[in-house]
């Protein structure tokens, strides 16, 4: 139960970087590709899960006839759609965790570049 001290983050202070330095890092090709990579997943994934989730109240509210159709015993389309939201959330979580390993690798490379260019404190 004892909380062990950990040193995981780089622990590096970057406050000595000037605004110009930060902009330089922000425009490095490797960093640009990290941001582009993240956006390529996060933007569509966010649009998708918001649409998939909001479709539930919208369809249940505005198309009750279809949604109330019993498809498995008394279980309705709406019931299955609601349960599928759990699967959807967990699948997107797994996909993100898998993609994020790639982000971490790029992130380490960018941090290493910055350390080389601006020096370790």
């Amino acid at each position: 139960m004892e909380a062990r001290p950990r040193v995981e983050a780089s622990g590096v202070e970057h406050h000595h970087l000037t605004p110009g330095d930060w902009s330089k890092v922000a425009n490095e090709p490797r960093f640009r590709s990290l941001i582009a990579d993240k956006r390529r997943f996060i933007v569509p994934a966010t649009v998708f899960f918001l649409a998939y989730f909001l479709a539930l109240p919208v369809l249940v509210g505005f198309a009750p006839a279809t949604m109330e159709r019993a498809v498995w015993g008394p279980v309705t389309v709406a019931n299955l759609f609601a349960l599928s939201q759990f699967a959807m959330a967990w699948i997107l979580l797994a996909l993100y965790l898998w993609r994020a390993r790639g982000y971490d690798a790029t992130e380490r490379a960018v941090t290493e570049d910055v350390r080389k260019e601006f020096g370790a404190p």
Binding site: V7, H14, I42, L54
Partner: protein, 554 residues
């Protein structure tokens, strides 16, 4: 119910030992607010789950599903899916850029006192609303389970404990209280679900078959159908408004955001969300079994608030004269008379049916533990907004004595707790269930637009942040004031009453559908009104730091 009291006291004893252990390790403000950022990712995942799965979820949603079936389950779905917003948009950048509070993230490149002050006020509003809803729930629960203890005693005990945890043990004690509670709550919920399934021979078709045909005074009800709770002309819009507030609001709840500062890195913050999503998902799946189990095995007529004391005498006096003697006998022997429309007792009563009085006592004790863990998390987030944002950054200008900061943080925790106790006692007879929905709506309308835009839009500036937060805050509060939550004409025998006895002007229960777009609109229009070259220049730094963790607080 002495068994429940005993188990609750055991939980309190264990948590007080933890608080004593944590207090020796809480000697700096970083220790107080963020447990020295030494909580592991997995541990924090359990703590996030413990911070989030409130009594409103456990008792409230189980009751809603027991009464209204599918419509109640919509809450469960929304509460889980909401974590995708946290995962994709907020957790990692927040950990990389901020220090202790939500305002730290927003004011990273939007300097100036106004932005931080409004962010802190919004934090305090959300935390206080949420806290009062939890504490009033605690009072009602004790009222039903322990007739010997009064409502006021319950609130004072819950309030005093949360103050002790936070004041002495800070974030470290709060974290472990939340972890233990999450373990207990999941164990209880899974146990009940397995027992419900066992009752139906582990056959889902049998369970759903029973749920599709629940006997009632007005004929059988199909709980698998929608529209039992949200019915009529605005039913669909009500569901949509609630859904929107739930799915966006979580990413703006200050007590959840604050948890991500307790881990060493953004990667650990990601691990936390992943674990939390698994635990929270399993928990909300169990609400389906618990709710349908309560409906089919206990029955709606036997779930309900028992009216006690003065309210019971008033109730009896209005009943037909022939029935009054029997009701008076019932009041004398059982300390309560028959039910109203409250469904908070569904889970404990189901536990009683399935596992007897000791199991019910365990579930009741778990419900108290749940309330304590959540209010402790809310107290520390409110305390940080006041002590770190308002006192340290605005009054002291970010400079000053470390020991003073810790002292102020502790004093604020006590002050926040006392305010919550007083308000909760004062609001006893008001129906405060809407406060949870309102807290989500304020978070979604005032906090989330500004968090998202400040991380993603270079042009975003101070004016935009202030306009966005004010628009979200004022519109969600204003709309709720004219909604059915506040305005309504009560039937004569209602146990709770509305603030304003008039027909509501706004038809929906949750303001989200209107106030969330207003929050975004305010932020965008405000931004376009002015330019802040400094904030635009600093966007590069924010982008690099948010996405690499360079220069993150350690």
């Amino acid at each position: 119910m002495n068994a429940a009291l005993g188990m609750f006291c055991f939980f309190v004893g264990v948590t007080l030992v933890i608080t004593w252990w944590a207090s020796a390790r809480t000697t700096t403000s970083k220790g107080f607010y963020a447990a020295h950022r030494e909580i592991g990712g997995v541990q924090n995942g359990w703590a996030v789950a413990g911070d989030y799965m409130s009594a409103a979820s456990f008792l409230g949603i189980t009751g809603l599903i027991a009464f209204y079936g599918f419509d109640g389950f919509m809450y469960s779905v929304g509460f889980l899916v909401a974590y995708l917003t946290v995962l994709f948009l907020v957790a990692e950048p927040l950990r990389n850029v901020g220090k202790y509070t939500m305002a730290d993230l927003i004011s990273f490149r939007l300097h100036g006192k106004g932005v931080r002050a409004i962010a802190a006020i919004s934090t305090l509003v959300v935390a206080l609303f949420y806290m009062i809803a939890q504490m009033v729930g605690a009072g009602s629960l004790v009222d039903l389970l322990l007739p010997a203890a009064s409502y006021t005693t319950a609130i004072v005990v819950v309030g005093a404990l949360m103050i002790v945890y936070v004041m002495f043990g800070g974030m470290l004690a709060t974290t472990w209280v939340q972890i233990i509670k999450a373990v207990l709550l999941l164990a209880g919920a899974i146990a009940i679900s397995i027992m419900v399934l066992a009752h139906y021979g582990f056959s889902l078709p049998q369970l759903f078959g029973a749920a599709a045909n629940v006997a009632g005074p007005a004929g059988p009800t199909n709980l698998l159908h929608s529209g039992l709770l949200y019915e009529g002309g605005h039913g669909a819009l009500n569901l949509l408004s609630l859904g929107l507030a739930l799915v966006l609001g979580t990413a703006g709840l200050p007590h959840i955001l604050m948890r991500f500062y307790t881990v060493p890195s953004a990667k650990a913050a990601r691990t936390s969300v992943a674990w939390a999503m698994v635990l929270i998902g399993v928990f909300y799946l169990t609400t389906m079994f618990m709710g349908l189990g309560a409906a089919t095995l206990v029955g709606k007529a036997d779930i309900g608030t028992h009216v006690r004391d003065a309210a019971a005498i008033a109730y009896i006096s209005k009943q037909p004269a022939a029935e009054q003697p029997a009701l008076n006998v019932q009041l004398k022997t059982k300390h309560y008379v028959v039910p109203s429309e409250n469904n908070n007792m569904a889970a404990p009563l189901l536990a009683n049916f399935l596992g007897g009085s000791y199991f019910m006592a365990f579930i009741a004790a778990v419900a108290f533990a749940t309330i304590l863990a959540v209010v402790a998390g809310l107290t520390i987030s409110a305390s940080s907004a006041f002590a770190h944002d308002i006192w340290w950054n605005l009054v002291r200008g970010g400079k000053g004595d470390e020991r003073e900061q810790l002292r102020v943080a502790r004093a604020t925790a006590a002050a926040v707790g006392i305010v919550a106790i007083v308000l909760s006692i004062g609001l006893r007879t008001l129906n405060v269930a809407f406060l949870v929905g309102l807290a989500f709506a304020v978070a979604a309308s005032a906090n989330v637009p500004v968090i998202v835009l400040s991380l993603s839009w270079r042009r975003f500036n101070k004016t935009g942040a202030i306009c966005g937060m004010l628009a979200g805050l004022v519109s969600s509060l204003g709309i709720i004031a004219i909604s059915p939550a506040i305005m309504g004409v009560d039937p004569p025998l209602s146990a709770t009453h509305h603030f304003i006895q008039m027909a509501p002007l706004f038809p929906l229960d949750n303001p989200g559908l209107l106030s969330i777009p207003l929050g975004f609109l305010g932020a965008i229009l405000g931004t376009l009104l002015s330019r802040d070259p400094q904030a635009e220049a600093d966007f590069d730094q924010l982008l690099v730091r948010a996405n690499t963790g360079m220069g993150a607080e350690v």
